[in-house]
Amino acid sequence: MNITVNGEAAAIEQLSVQNYLESLGIDPRRVAVELNREILPKADYPGTLLKDGDALEIVQFVGGG
């Protein structure tokens, strides 16, 4: 199935958000996720299955003023 991640198309198997982050090597504690423009609370990562057409934003803190 196809999803959009940070503006880029990605083809993935069906996974939970938690498993998808882990497959990317991302520590879920260090990021925030928007699913279809709504904040996804961290507690919901394991129970939320990604669906075809979903749009994810995965952000983290970087250096800034």
């Binding site: 991640v5 940070n6 503006g7 880029e8 990605a10 990317l24 090597g25 991302i26 260090r30 990021v31 925030a32 996720v33 928007e34 423009r37 904040i39 996804l40 609370p41 961290k42 934003e57 995965i58 952000v59 983290q60 803190f61 970087v62 250096g63 800034g64 003023g65």
Partner: protein, 260 residues
């Protein structure tokens, strides 16, 4: 009141340091860590950006920051609409589990001046959602008052454009803002060197926020220490109460008992 009991209080939280610093523009993480340490800051700003999905080898900022020591103040840098700024704040809260945000909504890329109309819109929504909002704003007393009325925890007028190092261009406006609002006034942006930070504090500002002034210096770690001292010196001078300026001289030594 000794320096150790003169705390900066924002939304009921106490801080010993009145200097807030950014984490951008450093040559590398070790330099940033050393500069943060030398600055004595307890509040540090960070930006919120997309994770690079294709290159996961890059180190993350938070690997280098002791979260027991520093309070993160996520910013909305790069946002040009209230909606984008609100979205960024919600993401920041989820990533950092803290309600503190430095709200900035920019007007254009050239000046990086705030778009105060969008800023007020965003501030109203974020305060309702329980955020502790610290807005970067123009040095405009009326806008600062509006931000306070909306429930912002502080106001952060610019001293000069972001990254310009021009110093406090309109100390009179900063003074009027200090007379107008009751929340802490933190000069954010424009500080180029230690005397700029001292001037802000001598005016009676409650704090100073800077990034480029330190990170862009030839020796950022030494400049961080200079800013640390300048903010403290300026605060002490403000509390000590300076002498009035006057045109004519006034002798420091007795004018009686001179030898003849």
């Amino acid at each position: 009141m000794p320096e150790t009991t003169d705390k900066l209080v924002i939304a009921g939280r106490e801080f010993n340091s009145r200097l807030m610093v950014g984490t951008g523009k450093y040559a590398d993480y070790p330099q940033m860590v050393a500069a943060l340490e030398a600055s004595g800051a307890e509040i540090i700003t960070v930006a919120v950006r997309r994770v690079n999905i294709s290159d996961r080898n890059k180190e993350s900022l938070l690997d280098h920051i002791d979260l027991k020591k520093y309070t993160l103040l996520p910013n909305t840098a790069g946002c040009y609409t209230a909606d984008d700024a609100i979205r960024t704040c919600r993401l920041a809260r989820e990533a950092g589990l803290s309600d503190f945000v430095k709200l900035e909504v920019l007007g254009d890329e050239k000046t990086l001046f705030p778009d105060n109309q969008e800023l007020l819109k965003a501030a109203a929504v974020l305060v309702k959602e329980g955020f502790t909002v610290l807005p970067y704003t123009s040095d405009d007393p009326i806008i600062c008052k509006r931000l306070e009325d909306l429930g912002c925890a502080a106001v952060m007028p610019l001293g000069a454009p972001i990254g310009s190092g021009l110093g406090i261009r309109n100390p009179y406006n900063i003074q009027i803002i200090l007379d107008t609002v009751k929340v802490p006034v933190i000069v954010d942006a424009g500080v180029g060197t230690a005397s700029d930070a001292a001037i802000a504090m001598e005016l009676g500002c409650h704090g100073v926020l800077m990034n480029t002034g330190i990170a862009g210096a030839q020796d950022p770690i030494a400049m961080a220490e200079a800013m640390n001292l300048a903010v403290r010196a300026g605060r002490l001078a403000y509390r000590a109460g300076r002498i009035p300026m006057k045109l004519h001289a006034s002798a420091s030594s007795p004018i009686t008992g001179l030898i003849k």
